[in-house]
């Protein structure tokens, strides 16, 4: 329970929202539509990783100074390949996880008054039911998912076993044509969270010439589309 509280505290302090998400009764933003990733506008993972490493080094140096070990080499707190908290392997692992979680190039969002479903290519959909404006929590043996509106932002928090947690904060741009998803990954083995912003542009899907549906008895079935 203490661990969960700590993770929530860390999550709420990062991402695109600096405030602790509160229940909002305002009308939710309409995110429905098809979205494709704008790689040029999205965060560069190497740059973000470099920033995180610099911050951790500064932290390590501050700690070293305060403990009187002034002669310790800069960055000595991080040794790639070592084990334990803030090790190089843990930091790089966290960045790799962020990249893995946010790599979906296409999103298809369906939304009505009761629920939203964010279908992400190559992975599971993020879905949320809106119950009286309250944050909705689903618990399973695999993890706990909490979601809801925090003012104009849609927030998904996923708490996983082994000290891993993920937060997605979705924010629609002023013109409604751009969607930012700030994904923050937290590991209890790294003292800083890792946030990646992925920017998506709205697009109108053209006819691909075929349409696929998932069926139970025949798996994924695709049929050709005829021009109307």
């Amino acid at each position: 329970m203490l661990l969960l509280a700590c993770v929530c505290l860390v999550l709420s302090a990062c991402g695109s929202s600096k405030t602790v998400p509160q229940v909002s009764s305002s009308n939710p933003v309409d995110l429905a539509g098809s979205w494709e990733m704008d790689y040029g506008q999205s965060d560069n993972i190497q740059t973000k990783l470099d920033t995180l490493v610099r911050e951790l080094r500064r932290d390590a140096e501050r700690r070293a100074r305060s403990s009187g070990s002034m002669n310790q080499a800069p960055g000595a707190g991080i040794v790639v390949g070592s084990s334990g908290a803030n090790s190089g392997a843990s930091i790089i692992g966290l960045a790799q996880m962020s990249e893995l979680i946010t790599r979906s190039p296409l999103l298809r969002i369906k939304q009505d008054e009761e629920r939203i479903s964010v279908k992400r290519e190559e992975t599971f959909a993020l879905s949320c039911e809106f119950h009286s404006g309250e944050f909705h929590t689903v618990e399973t043996p695999f993890g706990t998912e909490t979601c809801g509106w925090n003012a104009h932002q849609l927030v998904f928090r996923i708490l996983l076993p082994e000290g891993l947690s993920i937060q997605h904060v979705m924010t629609l741009g002023p013109e409604g044509e751009r969607l930012n998803i700030a994904t923050t990954v937290v590991s209890d083995q790294v003292s800083y969270p890792f946030t990646l912003n992925r920017v998506y542009n709205r697009f109108v899907p053209g006819s691909s010439g075929f349409r696929c549906t998932q069926t139970l008895t025949r798996g994924r079935v695709c049929t050709t589309e005829t021009a109307d």
Binding site: L3, L4, S83, A85, S87, A89, S90, I92, G93, L94, Q96, M97, L100, I101, T123, F124, A125, S127, E129, H131, H136, V138, E139, T140, P141, F142, G143, T144, I158, L159, L160, P161, E162, G163, L164, I166, S187, D188, Q189, V190, Q214, L216, T217
Partner: protein, 362 residues
Amino acid sequence: MALVSLALGVPAIAVAENSLPQSVGTVRLQQDTSAAEIEMLDIGLAIFDAGIPADKSTHSKLGIFPEIRKSEAQFMAVILRQTLIDSAAWGVVRVLPQADSSAELLISGKIVHSDGLSLVLQISARDATGRQWLDRRYSDETWESDYPVAPGADPFIDLYRQVANDLLAFRRQLSAAELRQVRQVAELRYAGSLSPEAFGGYLQRSEEGRYSVLRLPAQGDPMMQRVTTIRNQEFLFIDTVDEQYASLYEQMSPTYNLWRQYGREQAIYRKEYQQRVANRDSRGRKGSFVAMQQTYDAYKWSKIHEQDLDELALGFNNEVTPTTLEVSGKVFRLNGTLDTQYSEWRTILRQIFTLETGLPPQ
């Protein structure tokens, strides 16, 4: 279970296994091909209570897909009906859209849990006199060999057989006189539901809710003959509805059986995952990419599996077809759910009875 919860940092699965009754195991259906006419009571089998909590926010946590549950409530009643017919121990077995307290023997059921791995049903049975035959929670588990389900088979058939056997065992304890009284009370309760004024005095109801016959109508009573006619019309409707239920069962079986097979696989996967976590079977050091990916993938696949099931649930449209029936030279077309149609039909029959007899309506 508590240890696993602590290790995961999340609550355990919603259905606590120790709350489930013991599985019925392998059950052989007992038949009674030599039952006397008086012993072969007619059975009314109400569509099961789907057991869907009103609080929608709990559905996903409990693994309940409401549309599938509603279909299951009909599907399972049809299987129990067929099992009771196969036992050759009963008269007509009808699946009813609503409970009918004037049925000679009324069976009600509620789905407590259903996921392809295990099925838990609360079954109760009460005869027309108000005597409780059964009020028990039944549980059955499937084996890997139960899937894929062969045509005409059901992975939980042992549960239904156990219910049928228990009912037969209870009936065998009753004397011919007691069974005869059940039939008389059933007829008079139905007559009383049509016209309490004309038939209210034939029965007595005790404080415990048990009915007994005070006196019987005369042989050839014309009013009772009208009651019988109306009741037969009601049975006609139910028999038509039963055809729709049987048709639904036929249509639904192949897809539903696959759905149950997937549901079983998911339930087992969850159990094994809990076990793996409890045993700390991790491929990589904590905090490494390999370890985090393992944790994330377990969640990802559970979500993908759950969402596949969700999509399948959307296909379970419980469509109802209008029912057309003829009575007294008039054709009636009934629309809406079968439950609504049944209520509508009963109202029509009561109006006809009132018109024919000149008695005040109920």
